[in-house]
């Protein structure tokens, strides 16, 4: 109780005395906490949507029968249902959309009778009339729409809609809506349900089903022998959670990634707390000495200042909650879009406020603020009672302290390299993140020493150049290290993050551009309709293949792709015509080269994408095994290539070889190249597209190569939208830091500045002095920040990205972007000094006299 009263009397009174300083710090912390919390909540919402969707489709199944690379024969359903203790239900899913455009949605085909044991769903709205399940069974091309889809598309019960798929456009009747429970929660209600017969007739997928869900009377006893015999060796049986677990792991890794980036804002805010607590402690040394003299223990004093840090943290967190609630709505779309692009499709319709997430946010904010207050609190606790009698204050930071800090920082920096070599933990580069933090901390701790050196060298330099204000500013820089160092630390962190991200994004984009140009070559890409959306590449119509084969003005690179799983990780097996491909494009080699193309074409091995190699642990010389359509396939790995396709890695094999091994493999897609490059390729592509539409209707998806390449780069840019937001917020907090520090510096030196004014220093000179001081701070911060940023960019490119996403890229510095943006940051930072400059000349010399009089 006594401690609390002392805290109110000693610390809170100080806060009340200078509310704007405290407010600036609280605002900085609040911004950091808001961005940290809102990013996590936004990812949580995506994770929650994904999990609910997965649970809705998995239902109560114990096991799932699938055919990797194909579908399951539908007659197996009856055979499995004839086995005692086994309940079997087929499921088919596809993405479709309304003819004429609109967003795609998930169409689920089930047998409503068998499915009762697996999944529950309910028709929304009033009961009455024929049961919904009976209606969709009895009437061809009827569907029940999920609530969200019906609302979004404006579908009413009894209305007609035209849906499009690879077999063409088909009119459907909407017989009702499904409430957003159970199966209706799938894709957050952006789904529709139809009978399995309708599904097959609509999609043209006859005789087979996507999968068969099994419910076992004794799940712990495993699959009954009779069921295993019926399923046979060519099909795969496994628990339904593998897709879910894989997706959740990827989203969580992404969450850690974003959490780290957003934590940087909180980290920058930490400097603000440090600076204010340190300033309060330093400014009140005499009062502290009195406190100590009247019996306060060093421990009590220590906790008073740690408590002050906690108070800023708590206030910042309280302000962060409303700020975060505004921010999260803006982040949500970007986060879910990025997750959908990179990992798994999610449809987020609601935010879930998790108690533990809020608690984490509170704990992180308060702990960070308390940690920031530790060092000043220790210093305050060490103030001896005898200082009451001392007339002169001790220097803020002695030479040994500066050196000690510098050595500590250096030691931290030395740890960065070994940490960067450590592997990820469950796909999360924890050591890499720690290395990044050490990098930030190391440079921040080096800042005082660097400032001292800068001040020491700038001071004489500015004198000889006869720059009065600059000379004075350099002197201040040299003499008042600790607090300025804090502002520099904040700036270093923000500039480092900026520099690193500029380098990383530029390197990444440049690499992707090269990859797109080399590997995604082609004038027209043709697949079956909705193939890319569904990630299921059905055979192209044989007539199309014949027609194209007869044309003499084109070359073709056919392929067939399969979405598969390898040791729990999703990947694509792409069978391609290597011979045809090498004429028009080339791989982006990491290991190997074009000399591998002939053996690849002969089927003597496969190529792995970097992402797949990283996830599978396979490398050149290893053997890649996969089970596809009941065939055990194995190839030696001949080379590694860069590939930036999302949703997992890629394995490239020979189309002809796979055709031989599987005994018949139709083309799933084809790239078309016009042989005469002198003609107007764009016009020729458009003409060919028109011809194919006339001949094959709406069954194909065709995309000109130029449009596809632009689309890839657009998606790339979109995935970095969130990063940019986080970066801007970190810079904003840093700017706030500069404003606070300079303002405090001005307030501290009110008497001094007014003395200069009284001695004839003009307002302009005083302004210039403050501006120079700001310039020196910013310059040192920016130089160190850029250096730190280069280190950080290395960590991001070669550690964080490699361990989180599996890909690396060609390291390249966008000097032009840095040359433009770094001066802009200087300008912005100088702008942040404006309030301090205004404040410096606001006080009249009369105030000086009053101050001395006191």
């Amino acid at each position: 109780m006594f401690f609390f009263r002392l805290f109110v009397w000693f610390n809170l009174r100080q806060v009340q005395r200078h509310p704007w300083r405290a407010l600036a710090v609280v605002l900085g912390i609040a911004l950091g906490a808001a961005v940290f919390t809102s990013v996590r909540i936004a990812v949580d919402a995506s994770l929650d949507a994904f999990t609910r969707s997965m649970d809705a489709i998995s239902g109560r199944a114990d096991q799932v029968v699938t055919q990797p690379g194909g579908r399951v024969p539908e007659d197996l359903v009856a055979r499995l249902r004839a086995i005692p203790g086994v309940v079997a239900a087929p499921v088919m899913t596809t993405y479709t959309r309304q003819a004429g455009g609109g967003r795609s949605f998930l169409l689920v085909g089930i047998d409503p009778l068998m499915d009762r044991a697996m999944r529950s769903w309910e028709k929304a709205g009033p009961a009455g009339g024929e049961a919904a399940w009976l209606q969709i069974m009895a009437e061809p091309f009827t569907l029940l729409a999920g609530e969200a889809l019906a609302r979004e598309a404006g579908w009413d019960s009894g209305g007609q809609v035209i849906l499009t798929h690879r077999s063409g456009d088909t009119p459907f009747t909407v017989v009702g809506r499904i409430s957003t429970e159970g199966l209706g929660a799938l894709a957050n209600g952006r789904m529709a349900l139809c009978d399995i017969a309708t599904f097959q007739e609509f999609t043209g997928t006859f005789d087979r089903v996507d999968r068969i869900d099994l419910q076992l009377a004794a799940p712990d006893a495993g699959l009954p022998a009779e069921a295993a015999a019926a399923i046979g060796p060519n099909l795969k049986v496994g628990p339904p959670g593998s897709v879910k677990a894989s997706g959740e792991d990827m989203i969580r890794a992404y969450q850690v990634n974003l959490s780290f980036l957003s934590f940087t804002s909180l980290f920058v805010g930490m400097f603000l707390v440090y600076s204010l607590v340190a300033m309060n402690a330093a400014a009140r040394r005499r009062e502290l000495a009195i406190l100590r003299a009247v019996g306060a223990s060093p421990r009590s004093v220590y906790w008073l200042f740690v408590g002050e840090g906690a108070l800023y943290g708590l206030a910042g967190w309280a302000l962060a909650m409303p700020l975060g609630s505004l921010l999260v709505r803006h982040l949500l779309d970007g986060v879910s879009a990025t997750i959908s692009t990179l990992f798994v499709r999610v449809h987020v319709d609601r935010l879930t406020l998790d108690f533990w997430e809020i608690l984490l946010s509170l704990a992180m904010t308060v702990i960070v603020a308390m940690l920031a207050a530790l060092q000043p609190a220790q210093a305050a606790g060490r103030v001896p009672p005898r200082e009451v009698m001392m007339a002169v204050r001790r220097s803020e930071a002695s030479r040994p302290t500066v050196r000690r800090l510098a050595l500590t920082g250096l030691a931290g920096l030395l740890l960065v390299w070994p940490l960067a070599q450590l592997p990820a933990v469950r796909g999360v580069p924890l050591a890499g993140y720690l290395a990044c933090l050490l990098l930030f901390a190391g440079f921040a701790l080096l800042a005082p020493w660097m400032l001292r050196q800068a001040g020491r060298h700038l001071h004489p330099l500015t004198r000889y150049r006869s720059r009065g204000p600059a000379h004075l500013a350099a002197g201040y820089l040299r003499d008042s290290l600790a607090r300025i160092a804090i502002a520099v630390g904040a700036l270093i962190t923000a500039v480092a993050l900026f520099t690193a991200l500029v380098i990383m994004v530029r390197s990444f984009r440049h690499t992707v551009e090269l990859w797109v140009e080399q590997t995604i070559s082609g004038d027209l890409f043709v697949t079956t309709r909705m193939a890319e959306t569904n990630r299921v590449w059905e055979p192209l119509p044989p007539l199309l293949v014949d027609d194209l084969g007869q044309r003499e003005d084109i070359d073709m690179v056919p392929n067939r792709r399969f979405s598969l799983f390898h040791e729990g990780h999703a990947f694509q097996l792409e069978a391609m015509d290597f011979e045809a491909f090498r004429v028009h494009g080339r791989f982006f080699w990491l290991q190997g080269g074009d000399h591998l193309m002939p053996p690849l074409a002969r089927g003597e091995g496969v190529l792995l994408s970097e992402v797949f190699a990283r996830r599978s642990g396979l490398g050149v010389g290893d053997t890649f095994h996969i089970r596809l359509r009941g065939h055990d396939l194995a190839w030696p790995v001949l080379g590694l290539v860069r590939d930036y396709r999302t949703h997992g890695g890629v394995v490239f094999c020979s189309l002809a070889d796979l055709d031989r091994r599987l005994g018949g493999l139709a083309w799933g897609g084809v790239r078309i190249f016009f042989t005469d490059r002198s003609r107007d390729i764009e016009a020729a592509t458009a003409r060919l597209q028109d011809e194919l539409v006339l001949r094959f209707g709406e069954r194909l998806t065709m995309m000109p190569g130029s449009a596809l390449r632009s689309a890839v780069l657009k998606i790339f840019d979109e995935t970095f939208a969130i990063t940019t937001v986080l970066l801007l917020i970190a810079l904003l907090v840093a700017a706030l830091g500069i404003t606070t520090i300079l303002t405090v510096r001005v307030l501290e030196r009110t008497a001094e500045l007014n003395t200069i004014s009284a001695l004839g220093g003009s307002r302009g000179q005083i302004r210039a002095m403050i501006l120079w001081e700001a310039f020196f701070i910013v310059a040192v911060g920016e130089i160190l920040g850029v250096l730190c940023g280069f280190g950080l960019s290395y960590l991001l490119v070669y550690v964080i990205n490699r361990q989180s996403f599996g890909w690396t890229f060609l390291y390249g510095v966008d000097w032009a972007a840095l040359a433009v943006s770094l001066p802009l940051i200087v300008a912005a930072a100088l702008a942040a000094a404006m309030p301090a400059m205004r404040l410096a000349v606001r006080t009249s010399p009369a105030a000086l006299l009053r101050a001395f009089g006191r």
């Binding site: 068998m114 009976l134 061809p140 017969a197």
Partner: protein, 380 residues
């Protein structure tokens, strides 16, 4: 308060005891279906099979069995066929229909009553009539009706039943002691005021039964006597009728009695209520409504559904000197079919004792009580 069960809905049992003879009075939802308009001219084995075009059909087995150690059991196995749309609806099917596309739905209810253990076990199945999941097929001289693992093969000399559920199952061979009996006028069995409310209905009233039952993993050899009904129709239940009480009795004097009473919502029985008395030599006598005297002696309320069932009866048939008291050895033989029809009804083993022609007579049989919990013309 009575619980209202609408999980699945009723459209099977509610349609069974009905018939049709002329168009225009059955409602729009029966338009396009075949209708029962007169004598059915049964021809076997053809008519053991399915009758597509009629909306509803069922194959119904009940019986009382005894194990060598004296353990007594009652059993029920019923297959229902339901046509979803009139046959003409096929014209709207896609040019290449999916193998899952069908107009026929099959349901099955099974039950085993452990009389000495005073327990009733029930199971149900439902499936579309496609892809070998359920259906009716000719196998030479025999007809097989099946749904998943359950089936009956109706052969020239016996009906072979197989049912395998989680708690219980049975494999039984039922040999007809008497030929099939056509009820009503050559099988044309009226179920309402209008002549078009009718069904085609025949029974095997006495089937000598041998085989085994399985209960909680224990298999027992059993023998006894069973009953089989086969009936098809299109017409829904007549408005004002809320259910029925149906009796099948095998008496120890070699005779059998089938009797159904259509319960009116307003109270009393509908005049279409009737029955068939089968003499020991197989001769049949129609039991007219006017000759039936039925008195409920005891009612029982289900603790599960709150439905009240009349479980003890006195039945008298004027002109035949038949006077029977009907009782059940197990009260709770209620069927709750939430996964299929959604109907809650009572179907169970009964005993009869009384007199026939002045001679004491005993017997066993089955009783079905519907509409106690909800009106039987409720639909999905």
């Amino acid at each position: 308060m009575k619980r209202c069960r609408r999980i699945g809905g009723l459209w099977v049992l509610g349609l069974i005891f009905v018939a049709a003879a002329a168009g225009g009075v059955l409602g729009d939802d029966t338009a396009g279906y075949r209708r029962v308009t007169g004598p059915c001219h049964f021809e076997f084995p053809r008519d053991h099979g399915a009758h597509p075009g009629f909306r509803t059909e069922w194959w119904y087995y009940t019986g009382n069995l005894e194990a060598p150690d004296g353990a007594r059991f009652g059993f029920q196995l019923t297959f229902f066929r339901r046509q979803l749309r009139p046959s003409s609806a096929r014209a709207d099917w896609p040019r290449r229909p999916s193998a899952w596309r069908t107009n026929q739905l099959f349901l099955a209810h099974a039950a085993l009553t452990d009389i000495d253990g005073n327990r009733h076990y029930a199971a149900e199945e439902m499936s579309r009539g496609a892809l070998g999941l359920a259906g009716v097929e000719r196998q030479g001289d025999a007809v097989r009706v099946y749904l998943g693992q359950w089936d009956t093969v109706i052969g020239p000399t016996a009906h072979v039943l197989h049912m395998a559920g989680e708690d219980f199952g049975f494999d039984l061979r039922l040999a007809p002691v008497k030929a099939a009996v056509a009820h009503g006028d050559g099988g044309y069995s009226r179920k309402g005021t209008d002549p078009e409310r009718a069904s085609c209905y025949y029974s095997f009233t006495r089937l000598k039964t041998d085989g085994s039952v399985r209960l909680h993993g224990r298999r027992l050899a059993v023998s006894g006597t069973s009953w089989m009904d086969h009936e098809y129709s299109t017409a829904p239940l007549e408005p004002g009728i809320r259910g029925w009480s149906w009796f099948s009795l095998q008496l120890d004097n070699g005779t059998e009695l089938m009797l159904f009473l259509l319960n009116m919502e307003a109270g009393g029985y509908h005049p279409a209520s009737s029955g068939t008395l089968v003499a020991a030599d197989g001769k049949t006598t129609a039991v007219a409504f006017e000759s039936i005297r039925a008195e409920v002696l005891r009612r029982w309320t289900s603790p599960s559904s709150d439905a009240e069932y009349p479980l003890a009866w006195r039945l008298q048939l004027e002109g035949t000197d038949l006077d029977l008291t009907i009782r059940t050895p197990v009260d709770d033989q209620e069927m709750e079919t939430g996964m299929t029809t959604g109907v809650t009804y009572w179907e169970g083993s009964i005993t009869a004792d009384g007199s026939s022609g002045g001679q004491p007579v005993k017997g066993r049989g089955y009783m079905e009580l519907t509409g106690s919990n909800q009106a039987m013309d409720e639909r999905l």
